[in-house]
Assembly symmetry: C2
Amino acid sequence: MFRTHTCGELRASHQSQSVTLAGWVQTVRKFGSITFVDLRDRYGITQLLFNESLNTELEKTPLGREFVLQVAGEVAERSNKNLQLPTGDIEILVQSFTILNASATPPFTIQDDTDGGDDLRMKYRYLDLRRTAVRKNLELRYAVNRAARNYLHQQEFLDIETPFLIKSTPEGARDFVVPSRMNPGQFYALPQSPQTFKQLLMVSGYDRYYQIVKCFRDEDLRADRQPEFTQIDCEMAFVEQEDILQMFEGLIKSIFKEVKGIEYTESVQRMTWEEAMWTYGNDKPDIRFGMQLLNLKKPESVYRDRTDARALIDGADFKVFDEAESVIALAVPGAAEYTRKQTDELTDWVKRPQIGMKGLVFIKCLADGTFKSSVDKFYSEERLKSIASACGAQPGDLILIVAGPEERTRKAASELRLEMGERLGLRKKDEFKLLWVLDFPLFEYDEDGNRWVARHHPFTAPKPLQIATMIENEPSITDASKYLDHPYAQIKANAYDMVLNGNEIGGGSIRIYQRELQEKMFAALGMDKEEQQHKFGFLLGAFEYGAPPHGGIAFGFDRLCSILGGSESIRDFIAFPKNNAGRDVMLDAPATIDDKQFDELQIRLDLKS
Amino acid sequence: MFRTHTCGELRASHQSQSVTLAGWVQTVRKFGSITFVDLRDRYGITQLLFNESLNTELEKTPLGREFVLQVAGEVAERSNKNLQLPTGDIEILVQSFTILNASATPPFTIQDDTDGGDDLRMKYRYLDLRRTAVRKNLELRYAVNRAARNYLHQQEFLDIETPFLIKSTPEGARDFVVPSRMNPGQFYALPQSPQTFKQLLMVSGYDRYYQIVKCFRDEDLRADRQPEFTQIDCEMAFVEQEDILQMFEGLIKSIFKEVKGIEYTESVQRMTWEEAMWTYGNDKPDIRFGMQLLNLKKPESVYRDRTDARALIDGADFKVFDEAESVIALAVPGAAEYTRKQTDELTDWVKRPQIGMKGLVFIKCLADGTFKSSVDKFYSEERLKSIASACGAQPGDLILIVAGPEERTRKAASELRLEMGERLGLRKKDEFKLLWVLDFPLFEYDEDGNRWVARHHPFTAPKPLQIATMIENEPSITDASKYLDHPYAQIKANAYDMVLNGNEIGGGSIRIYQRELQEKMFAALGMDKEEQQHKFGFLLGAFEYGAPPHGGIAFGFDRLCSILGGSESIRDFIAFPKNNAGRDVMLDAPATIDDKQFDELQIRLDLKS
């Protein structure tokens, strides 16, 4: 070893010991004829003192930032203790030193608040990774990994590796494919998830499976998506939904405890998908704060069992509301005193193309119990009072109302709620609120193909009582305009998402395990028998040989880590991430390949431009 | 849950409890009006007893092998206890049952000794995985995984994920490549190992890194190779070779203990590469048994510091030896009584094309101290005695001698030694002998290109004292016939292999961390500056910003598991392996892809045939 101790290890109790340290030069400070150096490694920082005689040597070979240095010396108590540092009680009186490697001046400072821009830091990722802030993120990631493995081990899960070179069965997302040299003209695909393999492992009797595993999706990268990402992937046999919910809130609570020291003792709150959409406009609501939506008006075709509050706004001859498909309100606490400038700014905010509303209606609930609104012309004080009351608004609150087509308006209301929560400081980084969202629709309607698509994936089972509905009805949609009347539109999935602070961190389902039902599902998605056999023959085959009831879940590991680390960006929690164009800027990959490689793979380019 | 207990859990102490079990029907045995069923899951087998009244029901819906069954009943003590089974004291008096899923008759029996051939079992891998023998292999694999992680965690290693979509830099093996849709005309490569990334992590100060990670090589598959395989990949900063040897024999000993209950307390034996080649003909000798080689003759050009024993055979006018480049002997204990038939068979064995010898010379060391040989005409009793003595042969032993070109003969002697060890039962599956092989040559000579290739990989450092030799000499070889005289031929790598029972289970090296030396290495391998910059510019760049001394190792996880499991085949330890043509027979992958995929990737086929 090049050292006897790390740079984070020495304390006053080591006084007078002879030690050897190795690490990076963080700072060099000269005071007359002596020099102080802060030496850094993963474990900490230790102060070195070079005396007069060594200083002469130092002048011959000056130390720069990020030089790799080895020193031998004696541990001494500092006169000037640094209480900020665990090693702050001591310093090393250097007796000899060796420069193990020099360093050019880094293109940005290796500090928490670096002066490096994003591109520069990506190109020199190996330097960016030196910053304490980034290192702490990767250490947290490892702690989450370790905590998850320990919990799953205790619960008798087995880590079983599934293959990376599999078959392309493009359903939702695009596959990355890999040309096979040994099988010319054929391709492997990289897995979008180990879904079918973990199901086969249940068929094989492995009972409890997990893996922390890379998955791949060739999608156009929205902000903060990566073409390769990591899942905590789990599956259990002989379970019902309730068993999965219990097991995996246990997992997340265990991670909270091990990694963050948080005792999350209460049961995780549960909400149906419909409740979430109705009350928060969103299937992954952030429940750290209230501001629930008041549905003043909704179209008949959706949320059929829900009643809107249209009596509160009807008959006022206010065209904006009368002509809108949906009208949704929410009460922002304590915002009644917003100035005209502030409300104008909010109006501009909802008019941005990302939100797409035509305007915003305000009702200020003044402290004296009176109301002031942008629709005073249409609504009496009494009617405003009724709306405020239905919203749960208190004096001092500001009611915001959006109106327009159902889908867009609901999304806008949800975004507005989140934005106001953010502005009011209600989305605290150090508060963690879990939520199970349940009872998703099994199918979504695909307008282009006038057919069903699986909301989750084609292996998700319907609720047990709805299996008959699915088997007994034909999936074809005769009248596209009335697709919501089709029995399939009412089938709920036996599926669940785990939501943390408004982010979906995990999702899963009880799976189909009967061949007949699986075939019906494939047929509903527009797959004929031949295609079913080509793509999923192995799975249909497996279901013939004693497949047990089973279900599972997968957690987005990158996202989970970033939320626990209090960051918006998953890239900060990935050692070598790619940029939005799917490039590794440091490697300069992807790149061209040699003619020999094309030749061996028996493919060639067919560039369009 | 579909069960209250697993099929491996119930004991006499559970007597009279009401329980629910779920699992697979292993056997059905009818005795008059009652039926016994063995119900199986991952945890064990439990006997079920269906009484007369249930029997009527059973007749309506007969149970077959591999049906998935749920039963409720009461635990009862058996009159006829089965001492072979942990649950053998009890049986379940079934009160009600549900067939959760039926099963077609499996194409082979789900038993340890199955009647299924290799191809059939691969196609129905999900059924093969049900066999206890296969399940135990995957459980052992998980135990090794767990033990490795625990040890490395204790030693402060961090599991840090490295990317799978990287840049193609084909050096030794071929890369699998992945066309990039977002960057048309460009390709990612799948990593052959995370080598450069783990080195960058050392440059970034992570100090101790590990990963249990998939790697990919597009090679023609020899028996028992897989295109995707798993490594325990490790790297440490501020270390010398000795630190690595200590750390990682600790790892393997810890795995032995946790997984096999073996206390491997002695230090792992060490041997130089030259010693291994000289004494065993092999760089990964199986040291569970002796039978060391006697080098009777070797060419001058190799093993220059070694002396052969040619005096023992010279001057006898025996052309086979006189004309051979190399002559190597070994003494097989207790085989002097081999019959003519047996020695003929051995001669045939060495003449097989895989071995390639022209013949085999025998000396029988008879029990009475006399000798009988196939070369009596050329060698006197006294000379035979000298050879026997130099071989360490005892009365009763059989000396075998091969002669021919150096490389082929040494390999033949090694193969012969292993074969005889096998025949004599000296290679015991339950005996584990570790060995470090050290001081490999840094370079190998490539005849075709008349240049050097890296024996390990281009990042391996030479021995510290030979760095100067490498820097100060030009790599070019002027006279191909005298390449062994080039100073580079004598440079030893600061590298090490760990060998277990004659298998290389791990290998690594101290790395180059100085830009100048790395550039020299690349140049020695025939890479010009431009190519160096294109392929490894990021690494050369990293070495300019304070790279610490570092080194590491990677273990072949599949192989390690198979040896610990006492199997010859790594496939038995992989859940979903590929066959020798790189195909997943169950998935039927690789396969063709859609026109849409070609179109999006902007590539097309260019088939030769």
